[in-house]
Symmetry: C2
Subunit: 250 residues, 2 copies
Amino acid sequence: CTEERSLAGSLNDVKNVIAVMSGKGGVGKSSIAGMLATALSRDGFSVGVLDADITGPSIPRAFGIQGGKLQGTPFGLIPPESQGGIKVMSINLLLPNEDDPVIWRGPVISGAVKQFWDEVDWRELDYMVVDMPPGTGDVPLTVLQSLPVTGLVIVFSPQDLVMMVVKKTIKMAQKMNVPILGLVENMSYAVCSHCGERLDIFGKSTAQEAAKEMGIPLLAQLPWDPQLNRLMDEGRIEDCDEKLLTALIG
Amino acid sequence: CTEERSLAGSLNDVKNVIAVMSGKGGVGKSSIAGMLATALSRDGFSVGVLDADITGPSIPRAFGIQGGKLQGTPFGLIPPESQGGIKVMSINLLLPNEDDPVIWRGPVISGAVKQFWDEVDWRELDYMVVDMPPGTGDVPLTVLQSLPVTGLVIVFSPQDLVMMVVKKTIKMAQKMNVPILGLVENMSYAVCSHCGERLDIFGKSTAQEAAKEMGIPLLAQLPWDPQLNRLMDEGRIEDCDEKLLTALIG
Ligand SMILES: Nc1ncnc2c1ncn2[C@@H]1O[C@H](COP(=O)(O)OP(=O)(O)O)[C@@H](O)[C@H]1O
Ligand SMILES: Nc1ncnc2c1ncn2[C@@H]1O[C@H](COP(=O)(O)OP(=O)(O)O)[C@@H](O)[C@H]1O
Ligand SMILES: [Zn+2]
């Protein structure tokens, strides 16, 4: 039976895999994953996004891609493309409605993530960006063990409570010898749209000191940006501001 | 062998179980769970908090409870108490350091949550508040199937993307016939600390319409409150403002 290896995924050739992780939910992993993919695609690279957050998927909505009629060939499920040509695969593309729940246990969830890597017809990609779910459970374990991850981008916001949980993910990556490309602090501060004053809405940022203490580069500190929130809700992450992208990948 | 049923948990008598859920991370589940427990305790009820977020636990930190030397008797693990007498159990109380990762797969994670319910010596409680992890996977499934949940409090913040994911949890609860006590919109708006202007930091709230459309009561709309953030980081959730508590439980 093993001789009849399926053709699915056999034409895939992914050069780099970057997983955007945090451990803590709601810090901006999906937003940053979307922006990173957009920045790499604008620079001329071929990019795919694998939405590994099976029970809380946001990637199709961020890129304005509707679910429904996915096509497949012997080479695997064909991933839909965003307006900018970024290939995307997510559980929400396989559900009748985007707000239908996926009520699965760990082994089924991990299996789905592996199938998104192994059995989707990605073809040649310079970069695969993986949007990770919160926590250090089944999916993070499966992705770090089974995908050839080049490196991690770790996202956090300025609260102490968030950093406490994010450090769990950093220690997990270090234990599993997966390289950390760098830290991104998101929602570092806000600017009042009325009076222009800078507001430390989450408290004073300690990102510089934390990054130094852990010996991990701080890649970017992104401000609170109501436009980014709007773009995510409207499926237009690819229209995000050049300034934000440059802040993210320099 | 079944004759020698363990004594652990045999003196427990929990009258009501309220699970604080969302599906989406970072919307304020732990903060609201902490505030709800505080409000009920101030009203004279005996309260426990079960931290079901095994890989992203924030409850011990919210209540300022250090981990380490937990005691046990034949009746089960003794849950430490907060300053206000709220009993708490969390995986972070069993780890040497609060930022150590728990790298487990679904069955082990669910097992831990069941043990927190079955084998901790809670004794008599009027209310058990369960702080849920994001998603609709192992732990939500275990809690909704195995604990006698009285009702759910569903937390969200104003973004469309958040509501799309939160609806998955609502549909899950409805599918499993678990009552929803109501919705809480958190971080509905912010007030600039400099000029006092009201800022819709996450976009205009549509909570009233969403609640009406789903036929679920909207229990509260909590503003962005930098003090709440500070209290969570400093382990002083029990000092939260009477105004916020009244807004939460009326
Ligand atoms: N820098 C930012 N400014 C404003 N809103 C943001 C920012 N980053 C994220 N958001 C919003 O916060 C919410 C959570 O972000 P998301 O990317 O879904 O986080 P995660 O993937 O970590 O759960 C989304 O509604 C998003 O639009
Ligand atoms: N209404 C609020 N105002 C200000 N900060 C808040 C508010 N609600 C939550 N937070 C902060 O946002 C972060 C996420 O909240 P948390 O309760 O941990 O969410 P969840 O449990 O859904 O992940 C915490 O750092 C918390 O202090
Ligand atoms: Zn202002």
